[in-house]
Structures are given as structure tokens and as C-alpha cells.
């Protein structure tokens, strides 16, 4: 049986709380939850993912940091590992918004520039 977790739904401002666990591949929820919240809770239980946003160093004198983001949500457990990898990156101008800064930071997902770095 998968571990029992106290989870909060974030789909709407109600923030319903459910106890969630897994048995033989099926996710069960105990507590108030609606049809919009169920898929969120199930996904969040099985494979919680987050978009990581941070900044990286630049070689520019004008602009010290470049904001970056993962192009898609990455597994929550890889957040700190990704931060460590990104702490070593130093970006040279010029870079356009959306350009890949670090490929495959986790699960085949790239980190891309969230802003232009022109000078």
C-alpha cells in the first residue's frame, strides 16, 4: 500500500483537505473533494511536479542575473539537484527569451531563459 498523506487541493480557493493513499495501483481519497479536484490530487500523489524558476549568473556587467524556468514541470524530488546544477551556469549575452540554458536538467526537461539578455 502506498503511504498515507494529508493533502490539500489547490484547484479552487476552497483548499479541501483529503487523506490520500494507494492500494493495488488505485488512489483513494478520504474527505471532501470534487470532480475538478480528484485528477489534481491523483496526479499530485503519483507524480508531484513543479515548474522550477530561479536566476543564473551572467557575464554581463549591466544585468547581473538572468531569470530562467524549466520548460515544463519537473519531479518535485529533483528541485534541489536542479538548483545545484544551475548554480554553476554563467550565461554570456546575448540570449533570447525561450533559449535553452541547460538541457535535460531532469527527466528530459530543459531550463530556458525567462527574459532576454541583450547586453
Amino acid at each position: 500500500m502506498g503511504d498515507l498523506r494529508d493533502m490539500v487541493c489547490i484547484v479552487c480557493p476552497k483548499g479541501c483537505q483529503v487523506k490520500t493513499w494507494e492500494e493495488k495501483g488505485v488512489v483513494y481519497m478520504e474527505g471532501e473533494i470534487c470532480k475538478k479536484g480528484k485528477p489534481y490530487i491523483e496526479q499530485e500523489y503519483r507524480d508531484p511536479r513543479r515548474v522550477l524558476t530561479t536566476t543564473v549568473m551572467t557575464k554581463s556587467d549591466q544585468v547581473k542575473r538572468l531569470p530562467v524556468r524549466t520548460s515544463a514541470p519537473i519531479p518535485k524530488r529533483d528541485l534541489f539537484k536542479s538548483m545545484a546544477l544551475l548554480s554553476k551556469v554563467k550565461v554570456e549575452p546575448s540570449v533570447k527569451i525561450g533559449e535553452v540554458i541547460l538541457a535535460d536538467v531532469s527527466s528530459g526537461i530543459d531550463v530556458v531563459a525567462s527574459d532576454d539578455l541583450l547586453e
Binding site: I10, K14, T54, M57, K64, R65, P67, M83, I97
Partner: protein
């Protein structure tokens, strides 16, 4: 010039782009920072643009959409230019390093200066005055733009969105966030942030707590946290010392209306911003306000929408098609409603009404006079509600119906 816009954040830029698209090409945007985009530049997290662009963008990505539109249209944005004075006849005095001090007049002016953060001085937190106390927005600017970490062991006062977002930001950068303290029994930000900024990082959230004292001679050494009762008074005996080298304050945003007040614009004490109508015109004809200078918004897409309304209003004034306040309808906020913006409207078009409830509520109905009724599953003060009042409903009112009460009742 025909139109002057003060501020190149999401409100000012949306107003500029819309104005230009509607034919006002003789316009200038004044921006005091070195780059356009306003506060979005430092909001590097995602969650912006879901309504406007149907995508989940970061702050800089959202700003870039408008900056590129403005560039493509050839809109003049004067950077490093601070507006020092504004008069009720819309004359302004601007200073910049490369052009010195200049004076301008214009046919219409849009205020889009955004808001400030409430700081320690207005909170009267007892204790010493050591280094290491920042507002959450200051810390955000330091980390995301200057590349500096403000400290290593952090306590955050206030659970608004900025406080929670900075808790996550600091945790990701290797700081230890010891606690987020919130004086109310609920957070003032989005549930999503409670989960993704605090729970995700096991950061303790202490509701009904505040800070009784700050300690440290030259640098913060710790704070005394204390529990409060339902009248927000400290409960003796509940004090606990939390060691830290940094204190972040996220305790309120205040629309920045120094220039507006200079010009004599009437300010609504409930919203902290000017009284306006549905096209964002203040009580001084020709002066408009949109975005956080008008009222603190939750969703940037609404800020841009307000900028577009302001541009439409400015266009009418510039073309000499402005309207008088005869026959305008005033919105009166009922007891459970904290604020309503706009505060009045004409009967000339659909009206988007923005309101906040005073306290969290379960299933409830919002009533606008007798002409509109809408049900909601729940409401929190931290999540602004928007209601569309159709023009037809306003036009069906009698000429002596000049007030509409906005109220809500739990079902």
C-alpha cells in the same frame, strides 16, 4: 503630448499599447527604473497570463509580451525618468540624468505607478534596529536582480503571496526559513502558495502569531514570536524565541499615490487608490488610474485589463467626447464587503466590478442592487472577485436610481 503614462509595468504598458492601437500615437510612457516591466521584472516565478495569453508565464515573460508589442508599435518609453510633480491640469515635471528636468503638458494622463510595501516603521515592532530586516519585495529585488542573498536563517512576518513566494525562493537558494508568522487565523494569499511554497519545503506556518520583539545589536539575532487572541492581542506566556539573522516583512501593499494626492485626486480609504468610474477616470477629468496604484490586484491579467479601460477613457477625453458625472451610479459596499472598484459608473457600457470580502466565507451569494446575483462556492479576502454588470441592466434602471448596494450573504 496627447497622452502621458506614468509607469511601464503591466498597467502602464497595457494602457500604452491599447491607446496606440486606438489611434493615440502622440504618447509617452515615463519609467523611473532603468528597464521597462515594473515589478514583473523581479517576479521570476510562474503563474501569470493564464487569462490573457492562456499560458502560465513568469513575470518577465509576461512583461516581455507587452514590451515587444510596445517596441513593434514604436511607443516612446522614457527610462530612468522620474515624475516629480503632477498638477491637476495634468502638467508634469520629470527628471532624468541625460535630459535634466523637463516640464510637459498633456490632454490626458494615466497613473500606473503601482504600489509600495508596508515597512517596519508603520508596524511599531518593539526591539532593536539591527541590520537584516527587509520587506519581502526588497529581498526579492536583491536576490533576483542583484544576485545577493539577504541572509541564511530567515523568519518571515506575513503570509501574503509575496511572503510565501520569498519563503520558497530563499529555501531554494539554501537558506533555512524557520517560520512564517501570520497574525490572522488564515493566510492572506493563495492556497496554491501555501502548498507549493510552504508545505513543499516543510516551512512551519504559525497562524495567529506575530512578533513581540526583534533582538540583535548590529545584526538580527532572533525574534520573539507570540500567539494572539481573536482581537489580535498578544497572549502572555506564549512567547517563543526563534533565532535568525534575517527578518522579512510581508505585511501589506499600499498603492503609491503621492503624485495623485499632489494633483488633488480623491483617494478611497478602502482601496487606498483613487475613486474611479468604469473607464478608470478619477474625479479629476483627464486623469486616469489603473493597476496597483488604483487598488492592489491579485492577478496581473486584471491589471492589464484595467490599463486597457484607462486607455479607452483617455481616448474619449482626447477626442473631446468625455462624459459628465450626471446620472452616474454609485456603488455602495455592504457590511461584508471590504472594497469595490470602480466606485461609480455611467450607464454607457458593461462594467467589470472588482470586490473583496472582509472575511473568509463558505458558499455565498453576491448581490449588486436588484440587478445582479451570483453564487460562489467560497470566498477569501485574498482572492479578489470580479463581476460583470451588463450595460442593459444599468440602462434598465430608473433615472433616480443612482446607488447600487453591493453585498454578500452566506447561503
Amino acid at each position: 503630448m496627447d497622452l502621458a503614462i506614468i509607469g511601464s509595468g503591466p498597467a502602464g504598458l497595457a494602457a500604452a499599447v491599447k491607446a496606440h492601437q486606438e489611434g493615440i500615437t502622440n504618447l509617452v510612457v515615463f519609467e523611473r527604473d532603468e528597464r521597462p516591466g515594473g515589478i514583473l521584472r523581479q517576479c521570476i516565478h510562474s503563474g501569470f497570463g493564464l487569462e490573457k495569453f492562456k499560458e502560465e508565464l513568469t513575470g518577465p515573460e509576461y512583461a516581455n509580451r507587452y514590451i515587444k508589442m510596445a517596441q513593434d508599435l514604436g511607443i516612446d518609453i522614457e527610462l530612468n525618468s522620474t515624475v516629480l510633480e503632477l498638477d491637476k491640469d495634468r502638467s508634469i515635471k520629470v527628471v532624468s540624468e541625460n535630459k535634466g528636468i523637463r516640464a510637459y503638458g498633456c490632454k490626458a494622463l494615466i497613473l500606473a505607478m503601482g504600489c509600495r510595501e508596508r515597512a517596519r516603521g508603520s508596524l511599531d515592532i518593539p526591539g532593536t534596529r539591527p541590520a537584516g530586516i527587509f520587506t519581502a519585495g526588497q529581498a526579492q529585488r536583491l536576490i533576483n536582480i542583484e544576485g545577493l542573498v539577504p541572509g541564511r536563517e530567515v523568519v518571515i512576518l506575513g503570509s501574503g503571496d509575496i511572503g510565501m513566494i520569498m519563503a520558497r525562493r530563499l529555501a531554494l537558494e539554501g537558506a533555512e526559513v524557520k517560520a512564517v508568522l501570520e497574525i490572522l487565523p488564515y493566510t492572506s494569499g493563495l492556497i496554491r502558495n501555501e502548498v507549493q511554497c510552504l508545505r513543499d519545503f516543510n516551512i512551519p506556518l504559525l497562524l495567529e502569531h506575530t512578533i513581540a520583539e526583534v533582538h540583535g545589536e548590529y545584526r538580527v539575532e532572533g525574534v520573539t514570536a507570540v500567539q494572539v487572541d481573536d482581537r489580535r492581542s498578544a497572549i502572555p506566556g506564549t512567547e517563543q524565541f526563534i533565532s535568525c539573522d534575517t527578518l522579512l516583512l510581508s505585511v501589506g501593499l499600499i498603492p503609491e499615490n503621492e503624485l495623485s494626492k499632489m494633483a488633488g485626486v480623491s483617494i478611497d480609504p478602502r482601496s487606498g487608490g483613487p475613486y474611479v468610474d468604469e473607464l478608470m477616470e478619477t474625479r479629476i477629468p483627464g486623469l486616469f488610474a489603473c493597476g496597483n496604484v488604483l487598488h492592489v490586484n491579485d492577478v496581473v491579467d486584471n491589471v492589464s485589463l484595467e490599463g486597457e479601460f484607462a486607455a479607452q477613457g483617455a481616448l474619449l477625453r482626447i477626442m473631446g467626447k468625455g462624459y459628465t458625472s450626471d446620472g452616474m451610479i454609485d456603488f455602495k459596499a455592504g457590511p461584508s464587503i471590504g472594497q469595490v472598484v470602480p466606485q461609480r459608473c455611467t450607464r454607457g457600457r458593461d462594467v467589470w466590478l472588482n470586490l473583496r470580502v472582509r472575511e473568509p466565507m463558505g458558499k455565498m451569494k453576491i448581490y449588486v442592487g436588484d440587478i445582479l446575483r451570483k453564487t460562489y462556492a467560497c470566498a477569501r479576502p485574498g482572492e479578489m472577485i470580479r463581476v460583470k454588470i451588463p450595460k442593459k441592466a444599468l440602462q434598465e434602471l430608473g433615472p433616480s436610481d443612482t446607488t447600487l448596494q453591493v453585498r454578500c450573504e452566506e447561503v
